[in-house]
């Protein structure tokens, strides 16, 4: 008869095996638990937190593109956006490799520049990214007693949107409500400020070929905020010396013949400066830039009923002083006569003229008037036809509206005699200055030609003047609540 052998020994082995399995299982379970926590934090929460910022900044970029369109493509700016209460809002955009990131933005004008009337835009963007994995809080418990780290940094919404519940949808404390979230998520909010870029950052900015200004000519600068112009560029001890050497010339072409003295910097795009001893500042031949076409601003008011043309002597007295952002507008079909613009009483008066044809007539603006002239055609005048009684170039600004057909030529011809103070912005216009005028101002043009003994004095105040030609992000802040 066979009987079981050593049954008690088998039991011992079983106990040992179970004990070992228990120990290994406990270690394995502990490893798994901790790995899951690490993975949850490192791979899911950290990733979600970073992706939420990427989404928010992506939304900011989308909104920024719309802000830039307000000057570069006004008719399509904020197309498809909702406008309510002074705020443009877009519908949430979904993107990312798995289309799980969402962003939305709100844009409003919060300020009009007191110097040039341009709007400043505020962009508030929100980006949301999902947090995958387990609904677990961070690793605050792994720090020493009393420490809090993750829960203050990466605010994960596991069940409800904490921001809307605590601060409201716009963060101003109104309309607070409990909003469930479909899945755990992280939302980050940023605010960016778009500042207008004004056009006259250099004395002369030329997109194409450049020739000028004549062997005995000079380009220098001054600051009308510090007093009237006088030549100080060769007097280092003069208090206005530092203002006198900003007569910068920027040329986006290698075809550049620079003549005369330049008390400022010169930049070309691949050119070679052979008369560098006549240039006081820095020479850089590797500075490409672009200037977009110019379009009529979108925020102009309705025009006055008259006059509708200037074919002989016309005097305008605006019905109100207006503001930089809201000038009195006149729509002129032709401008071949003599126009005088008076101020509204003794107040600073802001006027805008939109000339749908060419400008061949003369203009006289009295000292308290600041005028912007938008020209659809070309300009052919003498220097003496540009009478700016204040002597401040910022008070008389010409803007050449770019033709819809890029092959259409547009020009600004200024002939002798006469000196003047004005600025010209014509990225699609060929500029020609004949004779020997003494002028205060700045120009942006397509091509430049001047062959006389021109005295060109750039007013540094112009750096803050003029209609916006682009926008830049000038402030960034995150709402970290």
């Amino acid at each position: 008869m066979k009987q079981p052998q050593r049954g008690d020994e088998k039991a011992n082995v079983l106990i040992c095996a179970l004990g070992t399995i228990l120990i290994v299982s406990m270690i394995g379970g502990s490893v798994l638990l901790n790995c899951a926590t690490r993975y949850n934090v490192a791979s899911n929460q950290v990733r979600g937190w970073k992706e939420a910022l990427n989404a928010a900044e992506g939304g900011g970029d989308i909104a920024y593109a719309q802000v830039r369109k307000t000057v570069m493509d006004p008719s399509n700016a904020f197309a498809g956006w909702t406008y309510s209460g002074g705020v443009y809002s877009d519908t949430p955009v979904t993107f990312g490799s798995t289309s799980t990131l969402t962003t939305s933005s709100a844009v409003d004008i919060f300020y009009y520049d007191t110097l040039n009337g341009n709007p400043w835009y505020r962009i508030r963007s929100k980006g949301t990214a999902p947090v995958r994995g387990l609904k677990r809080t961070g690793m605050d418990d792994r720090m020493l007693t009393g420490a809090r780290g993750d829960s203050l940094l990466r605010k994960v919404d596991f069940n409800y949107d904490h921001f809307i519940a605590a601060y409201g949808p716009t963060g101003d404390g109104t309309n607070k409500t409990i909003v469930p979230v479909a899945q755990p998520q992280v939302t980050r909010r940023i605010e960016q400020i778009c500042a207008p870029i004004t056009p006259f950052e250099a004395a002369i900015k030329c997109i194409g070929t450049f020739y000028g200004l004549g062997d005995a000519a000079l380009i220098d600068s001054f600051d009308s905020r510090n007093g009237a112009y006088y030549f100080a560029a060769l007097s280092p001890n003069d208090p206005h010396y530092n203002d006198s050497r900003s007569g910068n010339v920027e040329i986006n072409s290698a075809v550049a013949t620079i003549r005369g003295w330049v008390y400022g910097d010169v930049a070309t795009n691949g050119g070679t400066i052979v008369r560098s001893q006549y240039i006081s500042g820095t020479i850089d031949n590797n500075v490409p830039f672009s200037v977009p076409p110019y379009y009529l601003p979108r925020n102009l008011p309705l025009p006055q009923p008259s006059p509708s043309a200037v074919t002989d002597a016309v005097t305008i007295i605006p019905p109100a002083p207006g503001t930089e952002a809201n000038p009195t507008l006149y729509l002129l079909s032709s401008f071949s006569g003599q126009l005088t613009v008076n101020s509204f009483g003794s107040q600073k008066t802001f006027v805008a003229l939109h000339v749908t044809g060419d400008v061949t007539g003369s203009i006289d603006i009295t000292p308290l008037v600041k005028a912007k002239i938008f020209v659809d055609g070309s300009i052919d005048v003498k220097g003496r036809d540009i009478v700016n009684e204040s002597g401040l170039a910022a008070n008389l600004q010409y803007y050449m509206i770019s033709p819809s057909d890029p092959t259409t030529r547009q020009h600004i011809n200024i002939n002798p005699p006469g000196n003047f103070a004005a600025v010209f912005y014509g990225p699609s216009a060929d500029l020609t200055i004949n004779g020997n005028p003494d002028l205060k101002g700045a120009v942006v043009c397509k091509t430049f030609y001047a062959n006389g003994t021109v005295g060109w004095h750039y007013d540094r105040e112009l750096g803050l003047e003029g209609d916006a030609v682009d926008y830049r992000i000038t402030s960034y802040v995150e709402d970290i609540r």
């Binding site: 008869m1 052998q5 070992t20 120990i23 270690i27 502990s30 490893v31 901790n34 690490r38 934090v41 490192a42 950290v46 937190w49 970073k50 919060f110 300020y111 520049d113 110097l115 400043w120 505020r122 690793m139 792994r142 720090m143 020493l144 009393g146 420490a147 809090r148 780290g149 993750d150 203050l152 940094l153 990466r154 601060y167 963060g171 101003d172 404390g173 605010e191 400020i193 500042a195 750096g463 803050l464 992000i473 000038t474 402030s475 960034y476 802040v477 995150e478 709402d479 970290i480 609540r481």
Partner: protein
């Protein structure tokens, strides 16, 4: 009787058998205990390593968030602390707006624009907020306007170092965080170097200092 005889043959082990069995069992037991302890220590070290690594990431994430929205970043000479000036985006109690209208406390502030010879500038209120990161014992502290938060702490010598580099109108901050793992060989410097986590963050605003 056959059965009795058979039972008699199974009465027990010899002394030699017992000794050998005991020796082998002891060896196996000691090996198992040693392996368990080693495994536990190894797990503990790895667990601690990654827990501290997560704190490295947290320090960097905190700092990057603050640097991006900063106006000024200044590091100390010993690179052990960094001071950051950030816009005061949210209206706080005691601010002029809050004094005039207490309901504005906790709401975003509308910025104002000021002009200087270097151009225009966006301001959130008349003052700014101060954020300081510093080491205190085994902890890394973040102090914003006097409110202290321990953002990281560990017993394995967590050390962040900050440097800031000024550029024409911006600056960036390099952050390097190291620690000394529990398991180290004789070359502790190399062990610390092996834990290095670094990151660079740029100011999104124009530098003001």
């Amino acid at each position: 009787m056959k059965i009795a005889h058979s039972t008699h043959n199974r009465l027990g082990f010899t002394l030699v058998e017992m000794t050998v069995a005991l020796a082998i069992s002891s060896i196996v037991f000691v090996a198992a205990i040693t392996a368990s302890i080693g495994l536990q220590k190894s797990f503990n070290a790895i667990d601690n390593f990654f827990a501290t690594h997560m704190q490295q990431i947290r320090i960097i994430d905190y700092l990057s968030r603050d640097v991006k929205r900063a106006l000024i970043v200044t590091t100390s000479v010993d690179l052990q602390s960094v001071s950051i000036t950030v816009p005061q985006y949210i209206i706080q109690a005691g601010d002029p707006e809050a004094v005039a209208n207490p309901s504005l406390i906790g709401t975003p502030r509308t910025p104002t624009i000021s002009y200087s010879r270097s151009g225009s500038q966006v301001n959130y209120g008349s003052s700014t907020s101060s954020v300081v990161y510093a080491i205190s014992g085994q902890s890394i502290l973040r102090t914003e306007n006097g409110v202290v938060t321990t953002i990281a702490s560990a017993t394995d010598q967590l050390i962040p170092q900050w440097t800031d580099v000024d550029l024409a109108n911006t600056e960036y901050t390099n952050t390097t965080v190291t620690f000394l793992p529990i398991f180290t060989s004789a070359n502790t410097a190399a062990e610390r170097t092996g834990t290095t986590v670094c990151a660079t963050a740029y100011l999104r605003n124009r530098r003001r200092g």
